[in-house]
């Protein structure tokens, strides 16, 4: 690079006085702004995105004068971070949310992965129809889904058991289509010759699945599971219809709006953000380490 530049410069010099010199550019404010417009707008958008998160983190250190939080920052305290479980029912709701999300994620991921394999790898009567129908839960408004699920559970006589089981059933339902779509995308891009190569190299059907198919599909399956978990964990609408007397974390947040938010809610919010942030960063670092 340096050689090329030097040669270019000497070439220009030897060609005599005809070498045209670029006029020195005068710094102008308009030009300066134009050069940085994209950067400026980008920063604005980022700020816009992060303000609510910053607000939540800030309020998690707030010491409200009354029993519940106010919108104004009154005094700094570490207290809220050590008394997360103090507000009535907060930690119970978090526990229920985790139980529901983890169960729903496992069920939806297993079922959805199997469905994706069936839809991509096998041709059977009704495959085209299945491919279409699987999108329906995604396209259905949650309110409609929630209301119809409640009506169905009640008419089936489930009204006495509304709670964990019905929430999980409902969550698996709407997570399933996202899992199928995500895993399918991965499988479609997979080269079936790799499996043939494995079979050619003395791997029987199970070993081929275990050693080649599954590891290759794994990024898709993991992505699908993470998606299912986050959809399930913060679902409010469908849960609200199917929860009966049970209270998940989103339902708790909504309920406490009426009584006034306890400041510990902001601690939980900050923690959720920090954990997902750590997962994203960790994933990115892991990805860079292994090309």
């Amino acid at each position: 690079m340096a050689t090329t530049l030097t040669r270019g410069a000497s070439g220009a010099a030897t060609s005599g006085g005809t070498a045209r010199q670029a006029p020195p550019r005068k710094p102008r404010l308009g030009r300066w702004m134009a050069d940085r417009a994209v950067l400026f707008i980008g920063i604005l958008v980022l700020v816009y995105t992060f303000v609510p998160i910053g607000y939540i983190i800030a309020l998690s250190f707030n010491q409200p004068s009354g029993r519940s939080a106010t919108a104004a920052f009154e005094a700094f305290t570490w207290g809220n971070w050590s008394t997360i479980c103090d507000p009535d029912g907060l930690c119970e709701s978090i526990r229920l949310s985790f139980a529901v999300s983890i169960t729903a994620t496992i069920l939806a991921t297993v079922l959805g992965t199997l469905m994706a394999f069936a839809l991509v790898r096998h041709s059977f009567r009704g495959r085209a129809a299945s491919n279409l129908v699987i999108f329906l839960p995604m396209a259905t408004p949650e309110v409609v889904m929630g209301a119809s699920l409640l009506a169905m559970f009640v008419s089936l006589g489930f009204d006495s058991v509304l709670g964990f089981i019905t929430i999980v059933l409902a969550h698996v339902l709407f997570c399933l289509s996202f899992v199928v779509v995500t895993v399918k995308a991965r499988l479609v891009g997979m080269d079936s010759r790799l499996e043939q190569a494995a079979m050619d190299l003395y791997a029987n059907e199970w070993q081929t699945f275990r050693r080649v198919t599954l590891p290759l599909a794994m990024p898709g399956i993991v992505a699908a599971a993470l998606l299912a978990f986050s959809l399930s964990f913060d679902d409010f609408i469908v849960t609200n219809f199917t929860a009966g007397q049970s209270v998940t974390f989103p339902l708790y947040v909504y309920g406490s709006k009426l009584k006034g938010f306890p400041p510990q809610l902001f601690v939980v919010g900050s923690l959720m953000f920090l954990v997902s942030f750590a997962i994203v960063i960790g994933g990115e670092l892991w990805r860079r380490r292994r090309p």
């Binding site: 080269d191 010759r193 790799l194 043939q196 190569a197 494995a198 079979m199 050619d200 190299l201 003395y202 791997a203 029987n204 070993q207 050693r211 080649v212 590891p215 290759l216 090309p291």
Partner: protein
């Protein structure tokens, strides 16, 4: 692993996909330790044949044997056969060493580590053992694919256009390399390719396939010098095919009339003995001389030509000679410097030795097997 009598045999193998017959009643035998090439244009059934041998495709009819063992119904992982796939099919989630060790580990072989290392040494990829396939160049990936198959010491190694993705220079190197390895380890290689030069460079025996059947099988030189069909004459190298009428045939020579001039052909190279026939002669076998300059001297002489095109390609000069009946014949001449170059419009006679021509049945299509660049992709 290699023991006597492990020949690969196909008997009456047919594969139909719906109405399409990909492989039509194929019977062939590949002696153990030989380098066998299945050569043909795309869609001729050569890859399907390979996949039937590998067990990745079930034949509609017929049987596959290795030695005396009928392997027709065996699953791919039960066959002593390994494949180097087109575009390699290396496992992207495994390192190079893990790729190579894959087959050994599936068979529970204890010293897979040392065997893997030895094999990586053979293909000169030891320093890359811990890398992923995506970090290697095309030529290196090709060697990994070869190592991954060979480390299992298969009875038969199948190669499905293994060099197709490499550039020309690398391809030539790998051809020599493959041939060297094959000679060293004495494994039967079945190589599928559409590249006639590649097949001729490497194979002991070539089977030229077209439309699911073998047109002709034999040593490369035999196929080139004495093709039995117009397809082989055109697909392997280039041929001038001139329509002639058979006048007489004796055990040694067949005489033909070619637009009023009498020519002779060796009986051994004559694949028709009455009626009309295509007289075939390779462009490099023809000598073009100024009209009337040379006597016959026992050679075939075809006069009345006029040079219509001259292309100088360095090592040789390629002429097109327009004949009185409207056909243009190709003549290649080495640039030895012994003779002056001909010029456009020169009147010439064409001469060649009778043993350099061949005679084919005129009912065959003179353009069969003429490859356009699209066919080769």
């Amino acid at each position: 692993m290699s023991q006597g009598g492990r020949d690969l045999r196909l008997e009456g193998v047919t594969k139909r996909f719906g109405d399409f017959v990909a492989v039509d009643d194929l019977t062939l035998s590949v002696p153990q330790g030989s380098f066998f090439a299945l050569l043909g244009p795309s869609g001729c059934g050569k890859t399907t044949t390979l996949r039937i041998i590998a067990g990745l495709e079930d034949p509609t009819q017929g049987q596959v044997f290795i030695g005396e063992e009928d392997i027709t119904g065996l699953r791919p992982y039960k066959r002593p056969v390994n494949t180097v796939f087109q575009s390699y099919a290396l496992f992207p989630h495994l390192s190079i060493a893990e790729n190579v060790a894959f087959g050994l580990r599936r068979r529970g072989i204890k010293d897979f580590k040392s065997r893997t290392r030895d094999m990586l040494g053979l293909v000169q990829l030891e320093p890359y053992a811990d890398r992923r396939p995506a970090q290697l160049s095309g030529g290196q990936q090709q060697r990994v694919a070869l190592a991954r198959a060979l480390v299992n010491e298969p009875g038969v190694l199948l190669l499905d256009e293994p060099l197709g993705a490499l550039d020309l220079k690398l391809r030539r190197q790998m051809q020599i390399e493959l041939k060297r390895i094959q000679t060293e380890i004495d494994v039967t290689f079945v190589h599928v390719t559409h590249d006639q030069e590649e097949a001729m460079t490497m194979a002991d025996t070539i089977a030229v396939m077209n439309n699911g059947v073998i047109e002709q099988m034999g040593h490369p030189e035999e196929l080139y010098e004495n093709p039995e069909t117009t397809f082989v004459a055109n697909f392997l190298g280039q041929s001038n095919l001139i329509v002639t009428e058979v006048l007489s045939s004796s055990p040694e020579r067949v005489s033909v009339d070619c637009h009023g001039q009498q020519l002779e052909i060796d009986s051994a190279r004559s694949h028709t003995d009455s009626g009309r026939g295509w007289l075939g002669v390779r462009p490099e076998k023809i000598t073009a001389t100024a009209r009337g300059a040379e006597g016959r001297n026992g050679a075939n002489l075809l006069s009345g030509g006029r040079v219509s095109d001259v292309s100088f390609v360095g090592v040789s000069t390629q002429y097109l000679v327009a004949m009185p009946w409207g056909q243009e014949l190709m003549v290649f001449e080495q640039n030895t410097g012994q003779r002056a170059q001909l010029r456009n419009g020169d009147e010439v006679d064409l001469a060649w030795a009778p043993e350099h021509a061949f005679l084919l049945d005129a009912r065959q299509d003179a353009h069969a097997g003429v490859m356009t660049p699209e066919d080769l992709e």
